[in-house]
Homo-oligomer: 606 residues x 2
């Protein structure tokens, strides 16, 4: 059986940074070469980053991506790496199609190419275009209609005459039935490589493994799935690359939330010499025809392997809180650094939300780049200050105090503010102080609101919602506590000081905008609230379904009203990392002007 | 030739308000009946409003829409209007399809139905789903695959045995080649009715007339196009309903930005008695098959016509500034009223942006519901106060003054702020005052920024960008001036006091955040800037194309940099009415984290 050493480059790509991304392809191909790999596979849209959104419609950008692909092939060859087969994603173009409204004349493609010997040997494009959740790919791309099957003369010294057939499909082509993957068995490919840019969602890695195993069995091929490892605005790509054999058995698996080269030796069936190069149309079982495009590479010439690393590693999986926490850290780090910020600033209230946000930031970019501001008012409790000071001290954050009473007084001298207006005033003064310090000193302001608050509108527009990035925007309050406990436990297990003061975790939550105020004055108990929010927001259940699922009808009514009325606030909220199946961002698109009220749970619909 | 009296109900529908929209169908059908119409056509998605966005994915909402449709048919019959044929849009469902990721089991349809005699006689659905610009219809709907052709026994007294064949298509089906409209001629329909929810864009009404005329000729049928008249978040539907005969000649046309019943007597070819009811598949010339679904209604029974109104009116077209201004007024009015606000509040600086915004608001909801706040600082010029006072007095707005120096001092006592930080502080204090008054008194805050500022980031986050709705968000600065002059001219033509002080129009623009500051210190001349913005933002030209179009290379470079860097600010900006082909909203979707820099105009791409 021929043996092929493959390297999956689970790398970090930056949207729009064609030069940087191309350099990374060269750098990681060299690293793969040093480990003796004959084939290196990069993620979907590696050269452009993902998602590029409306940049896909910009002719200059598509031109530059295609030019970068050709330049990368030449550069690899010039670097002495031309003998290695490299598969990478890029933004491509298809000409000759009838015009489609909204697309430029050369229709954009979510493409992948095989580079070898200084050439772009073959290209293909994603066939299934996701257009749900956060994805809008019908807006940008036309579908691919082929499956390249490339014969790779096997480089193993023990089997000189052998070759293997490798097919290429892209991301969503794995998730949906029919299309290129459906014709893979018929094409006789022994290996299917799949570049991905698959965003993290809680629990998704289990679904990925199951999916890869199922598709490998369907295709009768070893399947090598490589995923990007990066944060991009609201999305976090978690790596978690996977290799399974044709029986669906796991052969190797990359880490979550770490850049890695996943190297493995694959024993693959020899290519059938009767299958000649050429094009064969095949029924793709989704109403379309996929052309199997068969071609042969000249011999691969891998470099001699550095015997240091044993290929075929399977990294351990992270626990549920560990993977969520890592996603948040990755999202914050990449947002801060890729946008050119050297530091962040946030308000510290002594409560759990700002404590967790500060801890995530310190883990993401280092405590010395995290600035915190205590902004006490006459309603602030003693523990709000001491807990915040304790947190800053435990982690070595840059802390300062700016009392707000003087500013409150200045507004109240001009305006007669009571109740909600007076409460919001305090939150907005704090937001303004952070923005002023950001303007003066160049920090990115982090917003500390959680998903339960964002859902119910329990936050002040331009107040606690002010900022450039919201690390825990997609984290329900109950999960905020869980993550804080997990992070402290992790520190304890490592023999380190737990970063978060215990009192911030255990005390009853309060906005401290009025005397003796508690969240529980305005909101249901968070455990009960979050259960309804999970079903209403993340599972899109209507009122009837929520009651049928066992939630209290009056509570359902109240929560739906709160969520629906707060849509306008969410529109002006900064982005933050998505960790659930439905975040408040491009995942959930509702009108602000909306008179629909879910039928009262006691009444039938209609 | 049979004659049919048709009424196009160019009405205002509200998203989610099924009861209110259904009541409006009943009310307007009665009005049409009083004018002797035998057929009434309502806009696309009339019963649900448009666009419903992710409400389409909510099973409870689709259930309610379908129930509302049946109830409407019954109600019309109960009201004695069962003898009239009524075509209306609604949110429907198609069962039995294979599951599609992201859609509920019963796939949503952008549907239309014919109601008669208390029954839903036939339904159909939009075939071409727009998924570009502001549209995301692949996300929500599955395509329709039929063309209903309904035989309407002609009710004209002079031709008792006659009947006409009426086909139904929906909105985008008119804009794209192939599909239901392509089989209309083959189906032998003498009349094609087309419900629409077509958003206003500057100059679009010319395109609509040309399109209707072309499709009518292709179909060989009289074409009756009815469009919604409503504001919905960022979209404004401008009415402008059109009837053209089979030679493409205009027969009648509704007004822009006014609700109207457009009534016309149509002389139509008699239906071919050889064409029997049933279903016939036809090649739709877009790679799909459309089933022609032919059926016959029992006799229509229109009510006797009130002889008051002569049918077949063609309203005059508005001038370019008049139609833009009307779009802004409509957008503001519907956003304010449909969201339940009784009043608005905004800051008045004496400059043209806030002056125009206040004038639009007063025209939209009445001067007595418009509150303005003068917020002078030590940098405010004398004319900033006098011009603002003059404007408030001319229009009878509720004006008050809240000086900001005391608040500025309170911040500066705690923080050492200079330069941009000190400038932004003033803008944010003003934003906070407006938000505090909104919280206290219940007004909606209007944001006064124009598109040139929003494009270049020449605004302060949480400062002048604070608010719930931005009336001139999609209006370039040069157009702001043009609209102000036009509005004053309109007043003069009517013998009224021009609402805007001349000095606000003619003085050089300044943010007045620093001594002697002028916009021209930071930005190119607006005439030059707006020309580049039009090409870069609205026409999506890259740097090379901009220079080729004659823009100065250095200016192009600078403007692109300003626009690209301000993306994060735009994400937190409130919605505002779209008037161009590319607004800063769902029309233009770019990543915040984005290292792509258009190649310098002097250099070749790549």
């Amino acid at each position: 059986m021929p043996r092929l050493r493959i390297a999956l480059a689970q790398t970090n790509s930056t949207v729009g940074d064609l030069d940087g991304n191309a350099a990374r392809v060269a750098e990681w191909t060299l690293r793969a070469a040093e480990q003796g790999a004959a084939l290196v596979v990069f993620p979907e849209m590696m050269l452009t980053g993902y998602p590029v959104e409306d940049l896909a419609l910009r002719t200059s950008f598509v031109d530059a991506s295609i030019a970068a692909l050709a330049a990368t092939a030449q550069r690899l060859d010039a670097d002495g790496l031309g003998g290695i087969a490299v598969v990478t994603g890029y933004l491509g173009r298809r000409t000759g199609l009838p015009p489609r409204v909204g697309l430029p004349a050369g229709a954009p493609l979510d493409a992948a190419a095989l580079l070898h010997d200084g050439q772009v040997v073959v290209t293909t494009a994603k066939h299934h275009l996701p257009n749900y959740g956060v994805f809008d790919e019908y807006r940008y791309f036309v579908p691919g209609d082929r499956l390249p099957v490339v014969r790779l003369p096997c480089p193993a010294p023990g089997s000189p005459g052998d070759a293997v057939d490798m097919a290429i499909a892209i991301c969503e082509d794995l998730w949906q039935d029919g299309g290129p993957v459906a014709v893979c068995r018929q094409a006789g490919a022994g290996l299917l490589v799949v570049p991905n840019a698959s965003p993290y969602e809680r629990g998704k890695s289990d679904a990925r493994l199951e999916l890869c195993a199922r598709r490998a069995r369907e295709a009768g091929a070893t399947l090598a799935y490589v995923n990007m490892m990066a944060g991009q605005d609201e999305l976090v790509f978690d790596g978690d690359s996977i290799i399974v054999d044709s029986a669906g058995r796991l052969l190797a698996r990359g880490p979550q939330f770490e850049e890695t080269l996943l190297v493995a030796d694959l024993d693959l069936p020899p290519a059938d010499p009767a299958l000649a190069p050429g094009e064969t149309p095949a029924d793709a079982h989704d109403g379309t025809t996929i052309t199997i495009h068969r071609l042969t590479l000249p011999a691969l010439e891998p470099l001699p392997a550095d015997p240091g690393q044993a290929p075929g590693v399977t990294w351990p999986r992270l626990s549920d809180p560990a993977e969520i926490y890592s996603a948040l850290v990755t999202g914050v780090r990449d947002y801060v650094l890729k946008n050119g910020f050297g530091s962040v600033i946030l308000g510290l209230s002594g409560g759990i939300d700002s404590a967790l946000t500060a801890t995530i930031a310190a883990d993401a970019i280092g405590a010395d780049r995290v600035h915190v501001v205590l902004m006490p008012s006459r309603h602030s409790s003693g523990h709000s200050v001491t807990d915040a000071e304790d947190l800053a001290k435990r982690q070595g954050l840059h802390a300062r105090t700016v009392p707000i009473d003087r500013m409150v007084d200045a507004y109240e001298a001009e305006l007669d503010l009571r109740g909600l207006a007076a409460e919001n005033l305090q939150a907005r003064i704090r937001g303004m102080i952070l923005m002023a310090l950001s303007n003066s000193e160049g920090h990115l302001v982090l917003t500390t609101g959680n998903k339960s608050e964002l859902a119910t509108g329990y936050s002040t527009l331009y107040g606690d919602s002010a900022g450039g990035f919201g690390p825990i925007k997609d984290v329900l309050k109950t999960v905020v506590w869980e993550l804080a406990r997990w992070r402290n436990g992790q520190a304890a297990r490592r023999g380190e000081t737990p970063p978060i003061p215990e009192n911030s975790i255990t005390k009853p939550p309060s906005a401290e905008l009025a005397p003796g105020q508690l969240d529980s004055d305005s909101l249901p108990d968070y455990a009960v609230l979050d259960a309804v929010l999970g079903d209403y927001v993340e599972r899109d259940m209507g009122a009837g379904a929520l009651v049928a699922a066992g939630h209290d009808p009056a509570l359902v009514d109240r929560v739906i009203q709160l969520v629906d009325r707060a849509e306008y606030k969410r529109r002006q909220y900064p982005p933050g990392p998505k960790i659930t199946s439905r975040n408040f961002g491009r995942d959930r698109r509702l009108p602000i002007t909306n008179r629909w009220r879910e039928p009262h749970p006691a009444e039938p619909a209609g």
